[in-house]
Symmetry: C2
Subunit: 369 residues, 2 copies
Amino acid sequence: MATIRDVAREAGVSIATVSRVFNQTALVSEGTATHVRSIAARLDYWPNSAARSLITHRTNAIGVLLPDLYGEFFSEVIRGIDLAARQEKYQVLVSSFHASAETIVSAIRALRGRIDGLIVMVPDADAHTAIQEFATRFPVVLLNPGANAPECGALSIANYDGAFAAVDHLAKLGHRSIGILRGPLGNLDAEERARGYRDALAANGLAWDEALEVGGDFTESSGFQAAADFARMRPRPSAVFCANDYMAIGLLSALRDAEVRVPEDMAICGFDDIAIAHYLTPALTTVRVDACSLGERALHQLLPFARTRRPADGQREVLPASLVVRRSCGAPVPGTGEARGARSRRRTPSSPSHHRDERLAAGSDGATA
Amino acid sequence: MATIRDVAREAGVSIATVSRVFNQTALVSEGTATHVRSIAARLDYWPNSAARSLITHRTNAIGVLLPDLYGEFFSEVIRGIDLAARQEKYQVLVSSFHASAETIVSAIRALRGRIDGLIVMVPDADAHTAIQEFATRFPVVLLNPGANAPECGALSIANYDGAFAAVDHLAKLGHRSIGILRGPLGNLDAEERARGYRDALAANGLAWDEALEVGGDFTESSGFQAAADFARMRPRPSAVFCANDYMAIGLLSALRDAEVRVPEDMAICGFDDIAIAHYLTPALTTVRVDACSLGERALHQLLPFARTRRPADGQREVLPASLVVRRSCGAPVPGTGEARGARSRRRTPSSPSHHRDERLAAGSDGATA
DNA sequence: CAACCGCATGTAATCGTTTTCATCGTTCGC
DNA sequence: GCGAACGATGAAAACGATTACATGCGGTTG
């Protein structure tokens, strides 16, 4: 592989000149510049990024650290980050860690020196302390800060508002006994959603009852198992808000097995609006979150700090979450004649034919399945 | 940030010794080693990876270049790669490019010097030429080589076999007029699947009829639109094989709107077995592909070459694709009593509660929706 | 007892850039 | 014409590691 020295020799100039041509950092005469460029092209030269970042202390890459790479939410976040990064000419290093605060530290350590900034999603409050001091001397953007997150960039989705809207909707439909299938204990998103649930109850004059809360872990099977708990309750709740869609799916399956009709006997509401939600029978009422733009926004928030290598200040941004009403909650679904199964999640239609669906999806998302 | 020099000075040894302690590349007495390590820990020292890779010519990172990051298939591939990479202590640089062979070249160029090897998925045969000469001097593993792919590592899914199995299944069910909804022209996976379709027809003594082939582009909306084409055919095919699940979903929606019953009036078969397939009504018969292990295998195939920085030789591996029979094809579905919606896609259950579902899913995957 | 050997460690060259500072014509203002 | 200013270029010092080679030192061996 050709080095800057080869190009310089071949072009009959010094390496400084070649460097300047490639960086446009200082004046180089038009003639030499084009000459050097042609030589470089012939030798297939490209600056070695290790050497470059050794001296500039910049890598033009950012790291993405997620608790897992499984599921639609994470993959959409990554896609959003990639979209923005490509536009900004930054590379993306992804990495996942599993569970413990131990590994999150070693994951960060492994990334060190390779990236100019980090986007990290912490599963629970415990992990915050691990990030804490790192964030004071490195650009970090948190993807789901809790109430007392470290002083650094942070971006979150409106967990509280979304949950509130969903439960408020159920209450307004007349349900007086509304259960919740919670996410993992200590999980920040889960806590916020639970808080939204409780406040929505209160706002509708409903008493909070611990007996109506069932623990889950965001997996489909935990939803499946929770069905038994709800069935056992006296009185049985006439509606259940699930802290995410996967659990709602599991719950729906179990209810069908138990011949509990949804929404007639029990109204169900999820959270996330994953692609499947739309296709379930009955279609799942849920709270939509735009994971892709969460990723995009995170990168854009991080970039100014990554560029200057200054720790990100305590800037915060919250992405809205919107209720998507479908069949599973028993509310009248707006619109009837729209194309079914023609919902778009892409930003850029890959074919003109997509156009029609885009419009429809924007109008309303109710399904008639 | 502390450098190797700081540690050496503080520990009263030379930088060579510090380096040796961190690389375990030569004998260092037990005493000095632990001393150096403690100093390093105190100074929070970690070797600068740019400096290191400048001299070693290795980055301990591999690149992943995909045509897009949208959809379940790609995200699972990435997850598989990440899983294997973490285990092997390699970092993963992901990057997507859109469409043209122009950008694939620049994407590769941008990655150059940052990675020890590349896993790339080329959308069509045209892009092969762009990879071609690069692969002769750099470790590359192709994720979907066509028939005449460049001389390099390659891994593919059994597109042909999967399609053959699906269509053969339809034929064995008695269908004499089987249509196909094809993928994009030039797309390698799509071509192979179409070939499997044709050969399966022939194997069952059915004549190939161009009129039964409808063009699609792998999107849901193209499936939706194709419904009209199939409806117009005389005689109307009694079964349709779709080259991927997204198109099958679109087709199912359109058929429902047109009040064509599935599978009674038209049997439908998809490809990929995305998560949604299981939850559709009727549940979609499709061909399962393990995208996650495709990623894992790719990394493992690449690694020996990445480690030695030798171009990967023409080793090839094919991942099996298996037919998953559900309701949409009209065949009797095996098993009836199993838990619904309790299918696992994870390798490692995150909670003990998952265990039961794992077993069930392993047994058979038919659905009773 | 000298030669040798192996272990532990240090010295210094090297990787491929960027960037500061110096140099060297030209041109310009006066 | 002469110094200043300027534009284009080169020389050389970093950047922070790895590693070939040299060195010193005690213990074995013939």
